[in-house]
Symmetry: C2
Subunit: 351 residues, 2 copies
Amino acid sequence: MFPFRVIDQVSVKQLLDMKHVIELVERAYTLKEQKEASLFPMVFHEFAPGKADMDIKSGHLTGANIFGLKLVSWFGENPAKDLPALVGFVMVLDSDTGVPKGMMSGEPVTLMRTGAAGGIGAKYFARPESENLLLVGCGHLAAYEIMATLITMKHIKKVTVYNANSYEKAATFCATAKEKLQDMFLAPYQDDQELYRTLLDRIEIEYVATDDIRQATEEADIIITATPSHKPIIMKEWVKPGTHFSCIGADMAGKQEIDENLFTTARVFVDDVTQAINVGETKVAVQKGLISKEDIVAEIGSVILGQTPGRLSDQDITIYDSTGIALQDLITADYILKKAEEKGVGTIAQL
Amino acid sequence: MFPFRVIDQVSVKQLLDMKHVIELVERAYTLKEQKEASLFPMVFHEFAPGKADMDIKSGHLTGANIFGLKLVSWFGENPAKDLPALVGFVMVLDSDTGVPKGMMSGEPVTLMRTGAAGGIGAKYFARPESENLLLVGCGHLAAYEIMATLITMKHIKKVTVYNANSYEKAATFCATAKEKLQDMFLAPYQDDQELYRTLLDRIEIEYVATDDIRQATEEADIIITATPSHKPIIMKEWVKPGTHFSCIGADMAGKQEIDENLFTTARVFVDDVTQAINVGETKVAVQKGLISKEDIVAEIGSVILGQTPGRLSDQDITIYDSTGIALQDLITADYILKKAEEKGVGTIAQL
């Protein structure tokens, strides 16, 4: 029999902080580039089109001696049943023996690593002096994308939030954004007064809802899209030179957030070429023949390692297509397990 | 947070009995045929060729309102580390909400449902009066395949066991086979004296090791192959008319147990056409163009439902290629969860 640790959602949240998750996700990207990590094929199933689906992402981190999977379901009608729409778990196993090491709630892992991905995209591809962040979508990911970007980008002065279906939702989000970010993300840094003050300063900026996506796009330095949209929200002709996009929402065939014609002029980077072409924001542009697979400049790991330049000039439009890869989850989960063991958090169950 | 039940290996073993698992696996096959169940694509990864691999099988049982996955690893060097070579788990989730229902040790589920598959193959395709069972391979599956076949076939008088690498291993297995079968499988029937006596009678037969696979093949009515072989062990010219094969071992590209030329004369049945062609015993025959996909008579569910005849005459050679499908695991796991809940077995953990 095999004892293994099970860690619930509240404990997972308490064990993670965004600064650390950003470092972990960068490490996952570079391990992938260095062939010390591999992705297994993704499994996707739609129970009811547009209403309920699930995916299983799995892979192997050779360096960390672990492999595992994350299963995440999305059931759109769950909130009406007082259940979260996203439910999932991550399972981590020892890649020397196949023995389970532990499992944990998948939701906080997903939210944190997905936020980190958006911020890392900005860090490596946006102009360093970027001041205006536009967030498209204000669902459960919004606060995570903003916090990660405020950590990676020092000069953000204004966050504009656009929600295609409801201006009010964006306005409500902005009204309490500072408090929300402080509550959700700053507690882990209370013992490090300097860092705490720095991050509090980063949060103390302007949050503005908009219903004019064209104007917001024209003003933005960095645009993060994190919606379940199935058609483009941002058109090419609105985008000024120098803009960076972190495209987060598209993770299955059919989803799209930005005008596919943007891909013809942008420098395009992805987390994983195969996933980007099959299920990412890049899919439509490749499918329509606007770009080919070879036009993708590189996977982000190569840029982080300094092997491929990111942006070449202040005039470049850059796109980072983050489809979300299992290695982000596994490396984060491995970290959580180590912290949980140190602190004695979680339940030991037997398999 | 979501409470869910975790059931360890010992408890899973205690909750299962072979007669019931045979019924469950038959039900999984028929649900698949009736489109009340679907398989998701299988994920397979080899950590080190011939030394360590893992697969993730997943699917959806519409009828039972569950979906889920089984991850099973095989690490060939584990026994030298005092660990079992096969390690795995099954996770079951609610297909109306995505909420986890429970998880359990995958090893006993796999052994029982794989044994059941071999016995079900005999039940639907072998001649009903079959007396001689030849088991090729005497690894961890051997007792399970024998017990299932003794349950489904009333007239078995002799079990011959062949092990390609070691006659001694087969001889040792046969020397204690009766006691082993009784210990491993009969306890659940102690309250039903009639059934217990019936099964004890079925076990009280001859168990003979052989090192002459040709002669054993010539004598056999039913041949079950359950080895990790990568080349044919049984040649076509040794096989007498009327023989039935349940091919259990081949579950990944490269594995093969019987002469691919047997497929040109046999009536071929499978658990899942796609898996059989991609990873099953059928793969080589199709790959070499000896048969085409259309030559597969049917999936077994169709035969169980009476929609397709199995054997047409006493002279037919029949092959049942059982690759092992997630639905067998999920339906068995769902049954275990219900029994465990009734009996209060397992640990409740939170996700």
